[in-house]
Symmetry: C2
Amino acid sequence: MASNVQETTRDKILRTGAEVIHLKGFNHTGLQEILSVAKVPKGSFYNYFRSKEDFGLQVIDYFIGQFFHFSKDILEDTSIPPLERIRKMLDGFKDLFRSTEYTCGCPIGNLAQEMGDLSPAFRERLEDAMNAMVDAYAGILTEAQAVGEISTNLDAKETAHFIVSSWHGALIRMKIVKGLEPLDIHSKFIFDHVLRPCI
Amino acid sequence: MASNVQETTRDKILRTGAEVIHLKGFNHTGLQEILSVAKVPKGSFYNYFRSKEDFGLQVIDYFIGQFFHFSKDILEDTSIPPLERIRKMLDGFKDLFRSTEYTCGCPIGNLAQEMGDLSPAFRERLEDAMNAMVDAYAGILTEAQAVGEISTNLDAKETAHFIVSSWHGALIRMKIVKGLEPLDIHSKFIFDHVLRPCI
């Protein structure tokens, strides 16, 4: 039982701390604020995390876990044609952002922007997280090529990188205009210009 | 002469403070650090800026001024075909990022990501700054349509938004992989798939 209780406390600190970091960024979120939202004393925090940086690295793992929790069912639903799966996943994220008033964006993209130049440890972990997302898209794009939905002239991995990066950029503008227009423009160009049977 | 001295001090605070903010972000840069790099006392800072937020808003204006200072000659050189001007501008930024070891990225994109949810004043100023960049691209794209370099089926403004947003996303990944590959992928997809005579 003890280990279950410990697991729950750790998860609670991660979940509540991750929410604040998602909105405010890592450096702008103080340890005291993390303890306050998690409602745990400092000693409890250090039972699970060696430092604020160690916490941040585990938050990245938490965020990538959330990404796959959110998208796994769609990504793996082979009853839906590959491109339609990508569209459904992006539409799902649009619904999510509509429900949160166009705030926060992608936590992996945010942390990459904020921490890419400031912490080699964050950089390494964020590259792994980005690659996991890219691999998920690349797998579907390879399926899409196999069934003729998109051109085999496309490099699936490069195309996946472009989809993810341009999505991250669209999310930046979403936070400024507080609307879905940047994400709709992203979908339009990705589906009308890139993911085509002939290029 | 007095006004010249004042102008110089203000510009020095802006330039040196902007450099720190470009690397570390706005919230992670303390007023004391801004004063320290500018080598001015606090009283001098408040001669020019009402608050740290007011300083941040003027830093946005400084950054967009830098963008046009960097790109104006290329943007307005009508001896070069429109698409070639866009390519030269992006190549110029790639050279710049190579020289700075792939750090910092676009300061407008960075601040939009960091401050978009945290400050309505920043959001408004950043939207103006993004629109200024987008209008510059849209103008060239309209020229490119007039000479048949790209399809008139493209909406120049939307296309410009997609180019700028996807560039911002590519810069995020540049900061993680510390190389030009994300920017080269951006160029490849923008020029091979979007900016074409027939779509």
